[in-house]
Amino acid sequence: MAPITTLHYLVVGAALFVLGVVGVLIRRNVVIVLMSIELILNAVNLNLVAFSRMWGNLHGQVFAIFIIVDAAAEAAVGLGILIAFFRNKETVNVDEIDLLKW
Amino acid sequence: MPNFIMSYLGSTVTPGEAGNQFWALIYVLIIFAGVSVAVIAMNWIERKALAHFQVRLGPMRVGPHGLLQPIADAVKLMLKEDIIPAEADQFVFWVAPLIGLLAAFTVYTVIPFGPSQAVSDMNIGILFMLGVSSLGVLGVVVAGWASNSHYPLIGALRSSAQMVSYEVAMGLAVVSAILMTSMNASGTGTLSMIGIVQAQQQQGVWFIFKFFPLGLLALIIFAIAMIAETNRAPFDLAEAESELTAGYHTEYSGLRWSLFMLSEYAAMIAVSSIAVTLWLGGWMRPFPNLLHAPAWDFIFSLFPGLTFLGLAAIAFIGTARMPSHSFFKIQRIGLAVFAALLGFIALLLLVAAVAGRSADTSLAARFNEGIGYVYWFVLKVAVFMYLFIWYRATWPRYRFDQLMKIGWKVMLPISLGVLVVTAIVGVIAS
């Protein structure tokens, strides 16, 4: 079996990224849209760590940690917005979230 | 084959480090079996000890003094009809107990029973342990949701909120212990479980006594958080029988229910192991630095054998005191055989201790050393397990808001304070 190179990881990252983008663009449920964003962030992280390995230094890993921190913040705020929205509109459907003000 | 075993016993690294997948697998199997047996034993001891706290006898019928009761229970649970509610989410309902079980058992890969008696010595051992044990909450949440019923849902929300919030205080207490590992000449600490114990060995002090009372405080915080983390009394709100019938596993029955119990007890042992590793010197025997003469080594190496001898003696006394009525004949024989078995193990251990005294490289010496490590580790864990039972017998249950109040308003500030003070004291001391 062929050895695993950085490119292999990048392909996995790209696949996850595209899946995440598809999820963000086509799903109606906001919760799943937020999950798709997590997929995208993971794809990016995988690339960063793979590049870190490729270059033989740790900057990529440190960046990955920053992105995980960012993902935590994003999830907290995103789900907070979702809860606030759900309380007012009783829906988690992106198609119905089309007002700037309610 | 003996050469193979010898060569392994001669090695001083974990199978994971040596890259020896075969021995790693053997270790995993041994640990899986050992933990399952420990859970069964814990089940019996809990029922007996709790019963004696409460002026009753506990199980007495199945086997002498109910010794076979856990096995009978296990068989009964396996044979029981496995009910999945019609309105439940079938797949998630099926998979939820497995998540909890997986999380509870995966952490054992990094628990060091001795300097080389672990599956693997991960560089991020303690982080891995906290992370994986926090996955157990997923099983609870998902089980409550999948049951599609009110009581399990409330139980799941309760217990997940509880586990998540106590993890914070727990993590900070752990960090203060990790900070202590870095207080050596080079100033570098470690997250590896084996490294943490070795740091205690090098610094010549168990972290519970380091910077007294800071280490003790951290241990107390951890000990409280770990009760909440494993949903045991007085923080057993998730399965508060009188309020929520059985909390998140109300709808479960049979084998699936027993998997929840198994993972709960396995998680109890796992968190106790963390506490022992971080603060109580892991596998080290008492006073390894003060009393380090070979004679002392020999005396302490007798302890495992003597313990089993004591257990055997207790079993023998039990046999002798059993009523002589013919009704008890089989039970008497059974208990006598059990006592003889314990006595045989005791004899084996004592022989090994004596044989391994002189030669330092012999098989017996290596065996003896390993037994010593595991013995002291298990003994320390057993103390925590007994405390779990004791708490359960003594205290009423907290209410949910009180639990949250304690977690966020008491434990978190104290653990933060302990962390900061530890850091300051450490800087001053170095």
């Binding site: 009783e90 | 409460q54 029988e241 309020e243 009423p396 209410r399 949910f400």
Partner: protein
């Protein structure tokens, strides 16, 4: 005065509360099969998260029509039935019924019978409070007191068994006095029990009274004011814990209670912790009463002058006693025949249970079980 009954917001269980759109109200059926409802009580809880917005008790799962049965039985035949109402305080039930019929017939039990009645009734009060303590503590999560109280209750039941042959539904008394003379060694047994039990109360208290968790779980939980208690007709330890010094043993002495010296413990806050303290003190006071009674028990007959066939004159009577759970009253209408024309029981549990809704509003689910425990209901009595 703010009438608690009319000011109660109606509990609308069908339409969800629209105050907040997010507040997913949960309607939860607590019971009739639930470990903490002390039998077959069904409490419909309306919850906002864990907060109780309102409750509705559904009772009747144990209804046996005791009052109707009374109309088809002679006065003597009906006496054992009352034991099945509050089955953990059967002696008290029997006392109330026998005294009511005696009052209706205008006969009186002889002094020795009255003393025996007091001793057994007070023992039963202790036994009933023990069951309350054990189950209440178990509801709050303390397992161990349950076993301690049941161990000690056993001694009381042994005395009952020796006295009348039954442990639970004793049917100890008869109209006009007592059926059985005390057995040899009765006084000694009772005194032994008193000596045995005095340290046991301290043992219970050592486990609970200053236990931080216990205090946190009970203090300021299920508070009910004295005015609300009076308005709802709540009696017994619940009323006394709210600060009203009302005990029928003192207020309208029956049996031989006028001759004994004892105190009525009262609380101040009317919360669960006060009710706990009041009941613990009541056990001690009961021991005082028993001690006085057993020391001063007079000699003499144990049966008053009662005809073989009990035929009370036409009339009606209401007589009530202080049962362990509160005022236990019997209203008997006689048409001059051997059977009551109508018999109505005023069960303390039934009346006290009304206070549940007021006590638990705004509290959490966990407090509901604590409050159900502290009201000390027996469903046999609630449903009759």
């Amino acid at each position: 005065m703010n009438d608690p009954i009319t000011s109660r917001a109606n509990l609308d269980l069908d339409t969800p509360d629209k105050t907040y759109l997010d507040s997913n109200e949960l309607i939860i059926n607590m019971g009739p099969q639930h470990p903490a409802t002390h039998g077959v009580l069904r409490v419909i809880l309306k919850l906002d998260g864990e907060k109780v917005l309102g409750t509705e008790c559904v009772i009747g799962y144990l209804h046996r029509g005791v009052e109707k049965i009374a109309e088809n039985r002679t006065y003597t035949m009906f006496a054992p039935y009352v034991d099945r109402m509050d089955y953990v305080a059967a002696v008290s039930n029997g006392l109330g019924y026998c005294e009511a019929v005696e009052k209706l017939m205008n006969v009186e039990a002889p002094p020795r019978a009255k003393y025996i009645r007091v001793i057994l009734t007070e023992l039963q009060r202790i036994a009933s409070h023990q069951i309350w303590l054990g189950t209440h503590a178990l509801d709050i999560g303390a397992m161990t007191p349950l076993f301690y109280t049941f161990r000690d209750r056993e001694e009381i039941l042994k005395i009952f068994e020796k006295y009348c042959g039954a442990r639970l539904t004793t049917h100890a008394f008869r109209i006009g006095g007592c059926q059985y003379e005390t057995y040899a060694g009765f006084e000694k047994d009772v005194k032994n029990f008193l000596a045995f039990f005095a340290p046991k109360i301290d043992e219970y208290e050592a486990l609970l009274t200053t236990n931080r968790i216990w205090v946190e779980r009970t203090r300021n939980v299920g508070v009910i004011s004295a005015a609300d208690c009076v308005a709802l007709g709540v009696t017994g330890p619940v009323l006394r814990a709210s600060g009203v010094q009302w005990d029928l043993r003192k207020a309208q002495p029956y049996a031989a209670y006028a001759e004994f010296d004892f105190e009525i413990p009262t609380g101040t806050n009317g919360d669960t912790y006060d009710r706990y303290l009041v009941r613990m003190e009541e056990m001690r006071q009961s021991m005082r009463i028993i001690e006085q009674a057993v020391n001063g028990i007079p000699e003499g007959p144990i049966m008053g002058k009662v005809p073989k066939v009990i035929k009370p004159p036409v009339g009606e009577i209401y007589h009530s006693i202080e049962a362990p759970k509160g005022e236990l009253g019997y209203f008997i209408v006689s048409d001059g025949s051997t059977q009551p024309y109508r018999l109505r029981v005023r069960p303390p549990s039934f009346v006290n249970l009304q206070a549940l809704d007021i006590m638990v509003r705004g509290l959490l689910v966990a407090d509901v079980v604590a409050v159900i425990g502290t009201i000390d209901i027996v469903l046999g009595e609630v449903d009759r």
